[in-house]
Symmetry: C2
């Protein structure tokens, strides 16, 4: 079943919700308006639909394999990556100075989504490479930048993030990999890293590992961690590849999903020490790692939206084709295609509404990122940075959690056929489950949302968002159509519940940490639900205006219906979650350990 | 990681919620009181824990395979099934007259649960055999009973249900398999059946297929379907096995989960016609099939509880062992086992509360089944039958839907390790997804709940259950402990929301079928949630009494905490669902087909 990138909905979100024309007023982004966006998206769609998506099922059935330390990716991946690199797609958002295209994240995020819809496993390689590029851009010396950035941005080389060790997953304080300073200013790295996505593969000439390690004598805990570049092949002075470095893949994991993406165990220094180069200063590794991590977290959130979109498209196609049973309303005399059945409609609408809501949320967040990083006015940068920071755990946490529900519904729409691997729906269900785990589990995102993003400023950022939502409610009230009134009513109820949760979280985080953190995931889910719903409310208003102006009536009417569905089927979960946040903390932690 | 059957919680539910001592007053069940239950459960636990559970991972990694029409099950399955049969476990609930043990479903359901916790794939064979036995007991001629029942009940032969065809899944009106009457009173069967669980295997001497087919000239649709026994091997007059029948396995499916359970495509009659024997009367096949189906639906609900229990136990064990990060409340100075973290606690409590709530619901339903079938007083039988009928779609629909959430949380507790197949958590996630699909999807259960169980009697049965819940609320109010008051409050809110949904469903099902049926799954989820929560409310009251009497304080205190958690974290979902049922029907069906 073919994939069709949702270019129209992406452009709608960019134009009307993320306000790309405002982004295009930022110096450096003058050429990055709607027209450019459309041209880029259409070009990207061709590559994703025609080249990369057809490799998705082969990647699942014939995944990456390891032999003698060498990983061979699924046939076709190497060629596809070469086309991806040649097209300049790796450099889309990266600086022109290093060979990138310098486009805003507002456009880049849409391309990232379609790439991930096409093939989650394939897309992980560029996603991790983006993170390595960001870290080097921010903290790398000019020398490191000169050696590595152009090659990474061109897609000639790829990047990895080496954080996890067997004893150190979410808790990076436990990292034990060692870095011994050498007389020439380099370091020798010794240790084992696990869960390294594309830690070894055959799609690029070189792999640039960014590795967390401790220099001898460094403080314990996270304040003693430094970041190093450890290339698979050392790089000669002329930029050509030199000796093989002492960083070797010793195994790859046998996973439930994203099977084509090799998840490596890397052994550093078993043959004398892997040569590494310090990024920035010693003991500031965690800070730099968070740069990569924040980019990657947003990216993983987009992966959730992407796999949800793909699951939705497959389910729609099946629901149109599969004939089974007479509709309950008698509208068809005999058996009809199952898309006529109300519950199938409800499932498809749920999938669609979640996906569009999260896409709109991610798109507005991307525009805030662009303004936060590039706007000439410092106050505007600050305001957008605050907003973006608040959004990152929502984009990551909520979009990935909803992708579990959407991919499960995707299987469900297919009935028994959904459980058969050849149908294709099951792969999305298996693939998606990693998204709520890697780059920080949902609980890690929720702790971030509770601690750094809500409690630290006493709930101020959270309440500022609620005020913006209240303004959207007022506009919806004023418009007074049935759909707008339903959305306004549900938004109001949800926003009021959110404010109660914010008061609880901000007020009690210090005094009752267990009670607050036991509600952190429900708090994240309700906040993400509300913010995505708010974007659907904004979308509804825009769609009504466009409809009145006679623009693209079918699309705009569908947007209005989808927004109303979101309000009535998804926003309705918020009050219950808020109630749980405010009252459920004690019972969550009351059971003695031995009683489990 | 070893499995420990939750015998204590099962006995608690039987004794205090299902009132097994009342069941033991029914003629024929005199010996089936609590003491018997305990002895049976402990014996069953030994077999499940020691023999059948150790085959679960091997079944996943080395599943059933097909060669030349013969299916070979995972090594060990055949021996284990022999032990299962020798122990008399297949006959647990079946009549003593045919060699069974004649125990009530109240006990049988608990054994079924632990068998499925141990190994979902293995347990499917007895589950389907139970269905075949029920159908023959109810509708089979004395001759058919004489030939087949003892062998099925002893576990010497196994049974299957042959409903589905490529074009006929949920919609059995589309069944095309033909049955040609023969002069000797038998029929020749021609057709293809798919998704036949244990349709071919090597664990028993013979396989007794129960097959839906149409006799020439029968009416169209479901009123023209008859039920046939089609044995794999014909049976000689002396009961010995005769010729191979013309029913052959032509392929088995490549599935996402329950891989050890062979899912066969069976071809009937490709070599002259498969010999079949009519069960009951012609054209009443669907009615008989519903006997099997209802038994199987309840059984699949229990599978949901079972896999949830197994996922919970594995997650608890990992959470105790895995050390990562300092607790937010500072209660441990360094990194602690993750069970100390509030969100891990919340996840484990969610898994536990769902599982215990659904177990309590299934146990009370089983006791109602026993009374409905065996109580001497017709009025008592009728009242219990009505209650049981209402419960079947809840046990099936809600317990399986919650098992998706629980097995997902099970993976999540394991973090990255959960995504690695060798860890074992992923298998439950993959296995569970079939449960919301087979034996009638959640939507099919929901349609049953809306149509036959709620709208048909104008909401009377539903409101009768609400009245019982109100009485539990009053008892909780009277007890006035903080846990009881929290439960009372949440039950009341949920019950009132339920009653609104019942009014809507019962009132509008005819006039606005689309709007009502678009809310059928939310209606099922809210009703199941409420009924399981009600049982947790009853359990809370019992546990308080037991605690006051000095009985098993740790267990009783844990039950109170778990019940309170259920109220504050799970019952809280009900009002939002009710709101969706009552207001969301229109937006679910409003999108024109071409807009998807």
């Amino acid at each position: 079943m073919s994939f069709s990138a949702p270019v129209k909905d992406m452009l709608f979100a960019m134009e009307h919700l993320a306000n790309i024309e405002q982004v295009a007023q930022i110096p450096g982004f003058e050429d990055a308006g709607l027209e450019t966006a459309q041209a880029v998206l259409e070009e990207c769609a061709k590559l994703c639909e025609g080249v990369i998506e057809p490799l998705n099922i082969p990647g699942d059935t014939n995944p990456s394999s390891l032999k003698d330390g060498v990983v061979t990716t699924t046939p076709g991946f190497k060629d596809a990556f070469a086309q991806f690199a040649e097209g300049g797609w790796q450099g889309l958002q990266h600086p022109v100075d290093f060979g990138g295209q310098g486009l805003p994240k507002t456009i880049g995020a849409a391309c990232l989504e379609m790439l991930n819809s096409a093939n989650l496993s394939f897309a992980l390689c560029p996603l991790l490479t983006d993170g390595a590029i960001e870290a080097l851009l921010t903290a790398g010396s000019d020398e490191l930048k000169a050696v590595y950035l152009e090659k990474l941005i061109s897609g000639q080389w790829t990047g990895t993030m080496n954080l996890t060790e067997p004893q150190a997953g979410s808790d990076l304080a436990l990292v034990r990999t060692k870095a011994d300073p050498q007389p020439d200013g380099s370091y020798k790295i010794f240790g084992t890293k696990i869960f390294i996505t594309y830690g070894e593969h055959d799609m690029a000439e070189n792999i640039v590992h960014l590795v967390l390690a401790r220099v001898a004598g460094a403080p314990e805990g996270v304040k003693g961690i430094s970041l190093f570049v450890v290339p698979k092949f050392l790089v000669n002075a002329d930029g050509s590849l030199g000796e093989r470095n002492d960083a070797h893949c010793v195994s790859i994991e046998h996973k439930m999903g994203i099977k084509a993406s090799p998840t490596a165990v890397l052994q550093f220094g078993d043959h004398g020490g892997a040569i590494g180069y310090l990024v920035g200063e010693e003991n500031r590794g965690l800070e730099y790692m968070f740069i990569m991590m924040n980019a990657a977290r947003y990216g993983v959130g987009v992966q959730g939206i992407a796999v949800a979109e793909r699951a939705y498209q497959r389910a729609v196609q099946y629901a149109r084709e599969r004939v089974q049973s007479r509709p309950v309303d008698g509208s068809v005399p005999g058996a009809a295609s199952i898309i006529h059945h109300p519950d199938v409609r409800r499932m498809l609408m749920t999938m669609r509404a979640f996906t569009e809501g999260c896409r709109a949320m991610a798109s507005t967040a991307a525009a805030a990122y662009d303004a936060a990083h590039h706007h000439p006015d410092a106050a505007v940068r600050q305001a957008n940075a605050t907003f973006y920071e608040f959004m990152v755990p929502l984009v990551k946490g909520y979009s990935t959690e909803m992708s579990l529900e959407v991919t499960s519904l995707g299987v469900q729409v297919h009935g028994g056929m959904g459980f058969i691997e050849e149908t294709g729906a099951a792969q999305y269900y298996r693939d998606a489950k990693i998204l709520t785990i890697y780059e920080g589990t949902t609980a890690i995102q929720a702790n971030d949302l509770v601690g750094r993003k809500t409690a630290r400023d006493g709930g101020q950022s959270a309440r500022a968002i609620a005020e913006q939502i209240a303004r959207t409610e007022a506009d919806l009230q004023a418009s007074a159509t049935p759909a707008a009134l339903s959305m306004a009513r549900h938004l109001q109820t949800a926003r009021e519940a959110f404010l109660q949760a914010v008061d609880f979280v901000a007020g009690k985080a210090k005094a009752s940490p267990n009670a607050v953190y036991a509600g952190s995931v429900p708090y994240l889910l309700l906040t993400g639900n509300l913010v995505a719903g708010w974007q659907m409310g904004r979308a509804l208003l825009v769609a009504q205006e466009q409809l009145a102006a006679g623009n693209d009536a079918a699309f705009m009417q569908a947007k209005i219906t989808t927004a109303q569905f979101y309000a009535e089927h998804i926003l309705t979960r918020v009050p219950g979650l808020a109630h749980t946040v405010c009252t459920g903390g004690e019972s969550a932690c009351a059971l003695p350990l031995e009683a489990f």
